[in-house]
């Protein structure tokens, strides 16, 4: 138990790193993902093509490769980014592809008549998307969006391999200091992740019950 108290501040720091990384990357992913979804359903072919290219590229590339590209690849064209911002960017850009697909499935679930009615009222494409289609779409995709974000929290562990001292980086570090306490460290790290993911799952349930559309 001494081991836990001695390293409590390490756990707290690592937990905050994981939490911060998750929040920032999540915001980036939600914003960019929504934008991408709007592009994918827009009437402008180049925008559709660009968004499709983005989604297919990131969705089919392992996150580790995305990390490698951003942390070690970009500096070769003189774009040096710090390790933590680099991790936010990697996880955020990667997750945005999945957010986009979740939101797009929600848009597809909105009855075509809704969009047609919006257009008939004289709303522009942007207005009908913002005021009519997206609000309904988001209410439909709360559970899958929740899954994407919870998976993202776990994906932040890859940042450990790229110099971000987050939760999973404690494993090698503390195990090297005292390999006898491997189990204790493992439990600590798992609990750290659960403190983030379990309330998220609960919140998703709550939100879903409140906003779900009965069809």
């Amino acid at each position: 138990m001494d081991f836990v108290s001695e390293n409590a501040d390490l756990f707290v720091d690592a937990f905050l790193a994981t939490l911060g990384l998750s929040l920032l990357a999540g915001l980036l992913a939600l914003a960019l993902g929504t934008l991408l979804a709007a592009m994918r359903v827009s009437p402008v072919p180049p925008l559709r093509g660009l968004a499709t290219f983005y989604v297919e590229t990131f969705r089919n590339t392992p996150l580790t490769v995305v990390f490698f590209f951003i942390i070690f690849g970009l500096p070769q064209i003189d774009f040096v980014i710090g390790f933590f911002p680099g991790a936010v960017l990697s996880v955020g850009l990667y997750t945005a592809a999945f957010v986009c697909e979740a939101v797009r499935s929600g848009i597809n679930a909105v009855a075509a008549g809704q969009a047609e009615a919006a257009r008939a009222l004289g709303l522009t494409f942007g207005q009908s998307l913002r005021e009519v289609v997206l609000p309904q779409a988001f209410r439909t995709v709360v559970p899958p969006l929740g899954n994407v974000l919870i998976a993202m929290v776990k994906n932040t562990s890859i940042a450990a391999g790229f110099s971000v001292s987050e939760l999973s980086s404690l494993l090698p570090r503390l195990v090297n200091a005292d390999a006898g306490d491997l189990t204790l460290v493992l439990v600590g790290v798992v609990v750290g992740y659960m403190v983030i993911t379990l309330p998220s799952a609960l919140a998703v349930n709550r939100i879903e019950r409140r906003v779900a559309i009965l069809r």
């Binding site: 290219f53 040096v80 090698p172």
Partner: protein, 296 residues
């Protein structure tokens, strides 16, 4: 069209990923063709680990796959280097041919648990003997004595001469390694940047994301060689890192056997030959005086 775009993206990513492999590996490959002798009539007391391994005709060895000169996996996935040669000498004494050795990659952080779980029979992986590790596993050897040193960009722009100059500098090492812990404990002013493997540190130094890389001199020598003139060594080792061979705790017979094998290899010159073929071929240095085996 779409397929070619994918291919271009993946190809570019692949280039980044493989950028750290080097000609050092090729040199070692050419030099490592000579194989150590394999004992034909190896016999061991029944019930010992030696008897079991000799009976099975194969041994699982944990080593590093990313350290030129000591353990570096070639494109076929077969590791080469001084650690690998030492493992071959031990396997040879057990009557196991080099091609019957099963190589498992062990990184700094997973070596104890691999030994404890029986995933590997021995670990020969630039593995520093220390007391904390001795609580969990046993060490044969040492078979080499290294020291922690510092690697900087060619020309040493920040004039780093030793660990005391690291204050305020961005220093790269590997999470879970002894050198990283040493910097944390004794040079807290240095800003540590930690990756999971040293090759990433070399990339970061090349990109200017860190100011220096620190670990055992032998590892750095391999990185300097692979850096094609981008890096240089400060050349001021500030610790003593005796490298040992990790094995299951309490297997005293096996440990004594490995120690005997090492001493014999010191005597008959196979140890020095192994050095010349691998790390020596890369660094251009003569085989050092072998360290005293520590039979604790």
């Amino acid at each position: 069209m779409r397929i070619t775009r994918y291919a271009a993206t993946l190809g570019a990513a692949g280039l980044v990923l493989t950028g750290c492999a080097s000609e050092a590996g090729q040199q070692a490959e050419q030099a490592a063709s000579a194989a150590p002798e394999v004992a034909q009539d190896a016999e061991f007391p029944a019930g010992t680990t030696m008897a079991e391994l000799a009976e099975a005709g194969s041994i699982t060895v944990g080593t590093k796959f990313d350290q030129p000169g000591f353990g570096l996996a070639n494109p076929q996935g077969v590791p080469e280097g001084f650690d690998v040669e030492v493992a071959k000498i031990i396997a040879g004494e057990l009557g196991i041919a080099p091609e019957e050795i099963e190589w498992t990659e062990t990184v700094s952080a997973n070596r104890e648990s691999f030994i404890q779980n029986g995933d590997v029979d021995i670990v020969v992986a630039t593995y520093t003997i220390n007391d904390a590790r001795k609580q969990l596993i046993d060490f044969a050897g040492p078979y080499y004595e290294a020291g922690q040193d510092i690697m900087v960009a060619t020309g040493n722009p920040l004039a780093i001469e030793g660990p005391d100059d690291l204050a305020g500098k961005r220093v790269c090492s590997v999470e879970g390694s002894t050198p990283a812990q040493n910097i944390r404990d004794n040079y807290p002013e240095a800003q540590l940047t930690l990756f999971d493997v040293y090759s990433k540190c070399a990339d970061a130094l090349r990109n200017g994301q860190v100011d220096a890389v620190t670990t055992d001199n032998v590892i750095l020598t391999g990185l300097v060689q692979g850096g094609q003139g981008a890096f240089e060594l400060v050349g001021n080792p500030f610790t003593e890192e005796p490298y040992g061979i990790g094995l299951t705790k309490g297997d005293d017979e096996f440990r004594a056997f490995i120690n005997d094998t090492l001493e014999q290899a010191y005597e008959d010159g196979t140890w020095a030959e192994a050095w010349d073929r691998t790390a020596g071929a890369i660094t251009g240095t003569e085989a050092p005086e072998p360290p005293m085996v520590d039979r604790y």
